[in-house]
């Protein structure tokens, strides 16, 4: 009897071992290939006109790195709709890339997970020193008073893009206040001809929450208090959101169809095709506009205007992409080497143009445009009129809860409903409760 039981047990174990051995074989063979030299895994974000475009732009840059250092880089470009979840899964499972691009507004939230390598003195030195970065850009890298867990890679800022020919034909000047902007947008809207003053990515929670923040900032309101608690329901925030929603609701200068635009590129395409006169976009729109056939001298850029009586003239958040290293990387030195390389003046200059990014290095030249006026406008916005999104761990939840709430409100407006100030306030209360519930 015992022998039989034993036989059975052995048979079962043998089966299982067989299965696990097969699995182990599967994974070890893939590792085997790279055992000769170090291979870094790198997750890049979507900066160019498409995921493929990113790949084309980055491949020669990474090849040059491999040639220089002997370190191979396995790259994957990940779209914005997936990046946050992918990073989250990587943090949870401990199975992530070595180096990853992050939206700089996530920096503090990601820092809180403890999964990323802090750039202390030694690490900073290895990548060329903290002094090489533009200060406000580096400040987005982590919480104040602690070593950042990310360093700036590409700088971005919002601007108001306008179609020069349409403005000229209507005898309009580029707006300097919110009121002028709305007047211009109304003059350029003709729903019968499917022309609108504005295109907004009204179905994108990331875009929506940025403008909740910027409009609130113009009203002098912050979305978090000093302790890091959400303050979404205060008047400045609510009024700011109402102002933004009203572009579609009461001013009617936005095509209701935009409520389905879940990424900025759709609005940019409308602009490039002459369907709309204005868009609000970060400076990387340049690449997409040109790719869609609009010539570079056909559009101009001014700062996103604040209302006449606004408390501040904030026109953007300090937007951009940062680079982080996963703390559990087995190739820390090579990862630092890679970050040093990606943030070196030569590579920055090389990538500045195809990705239309603002320089994150001191004394670097803006490469994203040949138009000195546009360059000056964006650098001025980035350096003097950009406010960093709150550097608190719950910042990412501000983005998702408030952004999603605005998606829903735009959808309600687009489908014929009305969103009152009280509705906005109630939605903000819900968002705030959700953030409190999940952090508290």
């Amino acid at each position: 009897m015992k022998t039989r039981t034993l036989t059975a047990a052995v048979a079962v174990t043998a089966l299982l071992l067989g299965a696990t051995a097969a699995l182990a074989c599967g994974s070890s063979s893939s590792k085997g290939k790279s055992s000769g030299s170090v291979t870094l895994t790198y997750w890049a974000s979507n900066q160019g006109t498409s995921l493929d475009n990113d790949k084309q732009v980055l491949t020669p840059v990474l090849d040059a790195f491999t040639k220089e250092t002997g370190v191979a880089v396995k790259m994957e470009v990940i779209g914005w709709s997936d990046l946050q979840t992918r990073i989250q899964t990587a943090v949870t499972s401990g199975q992530g890339p070595d180096v990853v691009n992050i939206g700089n507004t996530w920096a503090v939230s990601l820092q809180a997970t403890d999964a990323f390598l802090p750039f202390g003195d030694a690490e900073m030195k290895a990548i060329g020193g903290a002094d090489k970065f533009v200060k406000p850009a580096l400040e987005t890298g982590g919480k104040k008073g602690s070593p950042p867990t990310s360093v700036p890679l590409y700088g971005l800022a919002y601007g108001l893009y306008y179609n020069k020919a349409m403005f000229k034909a209507a005898g309009l000047k580029p707006p300097t206040t919110w009121e002028e902007m709305v007047v211009a947008a109304k003059a350029l809207t003709d729903p019968a001809k499917k022309k609108y003053g504005f295109a907004l990515a009204a179905g994108s929670y990331t875009e929506n929450c940025h403008f909740a923040f910027i409009n609130a900032a113009q009203n002098g309101a912050d979305v978090f208090d000093a302790k890091g608690n959400p303050t979404f329901t205060q008047d400045g925030v609510v009024d700011g959101i109402v102002r933004y929603l009203d572009l579609m609701q009461t001013d009617k200068v936005v095509n209701p169809a935009d409520a389905q635009y879940d990424n900025g590129a759709l609005a940019v395409t409308d602009f490039a095709n002459g369907k709309v006169a204005m868009i609000l976009n970060q400076n990387n729109a340049d690449a997409t506009i040109v790719a869609n056939g609009m010539s570079k001298d056909a559009y101009g850029v001014v700062a996103y205007p604040a209302p006449k009586n606004a408390k501040t003239d904030v026109a953007s958040h300090v937007a951009g992409i940062n680079l982080s290293i996963f703390a559990n990387t087995k190739h820390k030195d090579e990862a630092l080497q890679f970050v040093e390389y990606m943030t070196s003046p030569a590579v920055q200059e090389q990538l500045g143009k195809p990705f239309a990014s603002l320089p994150v290095l001191n004394d670097a030249k803006a490469m994203f445009t040949d138009n000195p006026q546009e360059a000056a406008t964006f650098i001025n916005i980035y350096n003097t009129r950009a406010k960093p999104l709150p550097l608190v761990p719950a910042e990412d939840q501000f983005e998702t809860t408030v952004g999603q709430a605005m998606n829903a409100m735009f959808a309600k407006i687009a489908t014929g409903g009305t969103v009152t100030r009280n509705d906005v306030k109630a939605a903000m209360q819900t968002a705030q409760d959700q953030v409190t519930a999940s952090t508290g």
Binding site: M1, T3, R4, T5, T7, A8, A11, V12, L15, L16, A19, S81, T85, Q88, V91, T92, G94, S109, A112, T113, D114, A115, G203, S204, Y205, P256, A257, A259, Q260, D262, P393, D396, Q397, T400, T401, Q404, N407, A408, A411, K412, A414, T415, G416, G417, Q429, T430, A431, Q432, D433, Q434, V435, A437, S438, T439
Partner: protein, 323 residues
């Protein structure tokens, strides 16, 4: 080679008498050995994650602890209190989503069953082109979920979708192009897509069940003067009862837990009208990084479904015993 093979056969011969001595039927262990991989995989794939989920629901598993779960402090019943406090934001949203899902499940299962039954009965008699219809009806079920639903997503677009083109431009039924994927229409779109995906399954199961209903019963009833509907009510339906009991339960559980359809159809900007509960829980966990709260919601969902299944089986079995 020959040298090594000789002792091994000798050992095998020696083992055999020992087995007979044990007094058990030969090969008694075979069923266990064959079941073992299934049981083990079931444990690893279903039971362990479920237990982990229950454990997580009692933790404060927020972003501060997801790197090292073991360090997450206990939350006691806090996550459950949050999820069940229907006056506060989180609980209210969960309740809303739960009610939408109930309506969704009932309608999808009901309509799919009616469609499936109708098609199965019509295709029971052989006629020219029957195989062609059978194949055609199974296409939605054979199509990969993502491919099918993303096609619906394209078709339901407001300005470029073929549905609005058909309804507004070709037929002139609507003067204004409605939105299908945002606002309250989203619920209707979700229903249509889900029924499109689900009814072939009902059709397939009922068609298989109908094969076992003997033809002579119908013939006898026809002699007695029964109409088609009377035949269906008095013969088909009772004979299919065992199939229906399982079919309705399985469909309900699948539809109630449906995640793929809303996820692929709506992407990241899910409309409140299409906020199904598994999607809601996904958002509650991943968008807010609060996996403890998300797990608590999942456990509540599990309890609800267990309860429904239990009641359903008790009621159905009692009725069948009475019959």
């Amino acid at each position: 080679m020959t040298v090594t093979s000789v002792p091994s056969t000798g050992a095998a011969k020696g083992a055999r008498p020992a087995a007979r001595r044990a007094g058990r039927r030969q090969g008694w262990w075979l069923p266990y050995a064959l079941l073992a991989p299934a049981v083990l995989l079931e444990l690893v794939i279903h039971v362990l994650p479920m237990l982990t989920g229950i454990w997580m629901s009692f933790l404060r598993l927020t972003k501060f602890f997801i790197k090292n779960w073991a360090a997450a402090p206990s939350a006691g019943l806090r996550n459950y209190r949050l999820a069940l406090d229907f006056n506060a934001a989180v609980g209210h949203a969960l309740l809303q989503s739960f009610l939408i899902t109930c309506a969704y499940a009932v309608i999808v299962v009901g309509v799919s069953w009616v469609f499936g039954m109708a098609a199965a009965v019509v295709l029971q008699r052989s006629f020219r082109g029957r195989p062609w219809f059978r194949t055609l009806f199974l296409v939605p079920y054979a199509l990969p979920v993502y491919a099918g639903v993303i096609t619906w997503n394209f078709m339901l677009q407001r300005d470029t979708g073929v549905i609005n083109h058909l309804l507004a431009d070709n037929l002139g039924l609507l003067s204004d192009r409605p939105f299908w994927l945002i606002g309250s229409n989203a619920f209707v779109s979700l229903l249509v897509v889900a029924i499109w995906r689900m009814w072939p399954f009902a059709f397939l199961m009922l068609m298989a069940g109908l094969q076992s209903v003997p033809q002579d019963v119908y013939e006898a009833s026809a002699v007695d003067g029964a109409h088609a509907f009377r035949q269906w009510r008095s013969i088909t339906l009772p004979m299919l009862r065992p199939v229906n009991v399982v079919l309705v339960l399985v469909m309900f559980l699948w539809v109630f837990n449906d995640f793929n359809t809303p996820y692929v159809l709506f992407g990241t900007s899910q409309p409140p009208a299409g906020d199904l509960v598994s999607f809601h829980i996904y958002n509650a966990s991943f968008l807010t990084w609060n996996f403890g709260l998300g797990s608590a919601m999942s456990v509540l969902l599990l309890l609800f479904l267990l309860l429904v299944t239990g009641i359903y089986l008790v009621v159905v079995n009692r009725r069948s015993r009475r019959a």
